[in-house]
């Protein structure tokens, strides 16, 4: 199994740990539930390719998360995994294309766009920067998440708050930044010629 598949598997574990640190927010609990199921599924039936890892992880998230983050992240991973296909080696360029397709699927499913104070505000700049490097993607996702603070939510439950949603960093964008940061760390740990 190539290093990218290993990295994606480690990613799920890292996210479970990261999300357990978020605290008692529903989003954190939901994400932890989902990624605990992802880890169990990957351990009990390890897929052969990075694409299959992402598809399996996506299905687990859709099945086990009780909130909107399940279908959204699940769709992201499933679409990206399908785009990767059967390849056993995945370059940063191919991963970028796959994640771009996944993020587009998330935007379509949720009917949201950048600036709506959602996970897309972290994911879209991250995918764009991933064309340069994993480190740039991590940086862009963090900046994107921070940039949601003054925004007024136009999607999801926070949108009912209207102007009162401003001044708070969007949880979805925050968890997206965590995911991208873990991806960058996994890529750095994995090596195999991938420039972090």
């Amino acid at each position: 199994m190539n290093t990218t598949a290993d990295a994606v598997s480690r990613e799920a574990v890292h996210l479970t740990e990261l999300d357990s640190e978020i605290g008692d927010a529903d989003h954190g609990i939901n994400m932890q539930r989902g990624f605990t199921a992802v880890r169990a599924a990957l351990e009990s039936d390890p897929p052969d390719t990075p694409g299959a890892v992402l598809v399996l992880a996506g299905r687990q998230l859709i099945s086990t998360v009780g909130g909107a983050s399940g279908p959204l992240y699940g769709t992201l991973l499933r679409r990206a995994g399908k785009m990767l296909g059967d390849g056993t080696e995945v370059s940063r360029e191919r991963l970028t294309e796959a994640l771009r397709a996944g993020v587009a699927a998330v935007a379509q499913l949720g009917g949201a766009k950048a600036g709506d104070k959602t996970m897309l505000d972290a994911l879209e700049p991250a995918v764009k920067a991933l064309g340069t490097s994993f480190a740039a993607a991590r940086e862009a996702a963090e900046q994107g998440a921070t940039a949601t603070v003054p925004m007024v939510a136009r999607k999801g439950r926070a949108s009912y708050l209207g102007e009162r949603s401003a001044g708070h960093q969007d949880p979805g964008a925050t968890s997206s930044a965590l995911l991208i940061a873990a991806l960058a760390r996994a890529a750095a740990d994995g090596g195999s010629g991938e420039t972090p």
Binding site: T64, A68, L72, R78
Partner: protein
């Protein structure tokens, strides 16, 4: 004759089961189309359960299609994601674009009359056009 099945997906188990009961009561005395509630998470919290939705859809499927009504947020997104999966819900499962309670009554009345999925979807969507003020 097989009838279109109805699935009600709400963040609340009580909302889903109560709207199902209300729709049944408002659909007249005779036999109605199968209707099932998928409310809350599978461990009893407010939220959405893919497993409960899949089980409810399987329960009401008679081969004529399954019409799903969802309330908001993750209920809508989870149904869409399950349909996109392709193998999680019965063939001919469709998410209706309709108000939850009013659409459920319209869908059940129409399905109980033996209408096909297109007609059930149209009847439920028409509930949007009934303005209250």
């Amino acid at each position: 004759m097989s009838l279109v099945g109805i699935v009600l997906v709400s963040h609340s188990a009580q909302v889903a089961s109560s709207v199902a009961a209300m729709a049944g009561a408002l659909s007249g005395g005779g036999e109605t189309a199968p209707i099932a509630a998928a409310g809350g998470t599978d461990d009893g919290r407010f939220g959405t359960s893919a497993q409960l939705i899949a089980a409810a859809a399987a329960e009401v499927d008679q081969g004529a299609g399954v019409a799903v009504l969802a309330d908001l947020g993750s209920a809508v997104l989870t149904v869409k994601a399950l349909i996109a999966e392709g193998d999680q819900l019965p063939d001919g499962t469709r998410l209706l674009d309709a108000p939850f309670a009013e659409g459920a009554v319209a869908a059940l009345v129409t399905a109980s009359a033996g209408a096909d999925l297109d007609a059930v979807a149209a009847a439920a969507a028409e509930a949007y056009e009934y303005r209250k003020v």
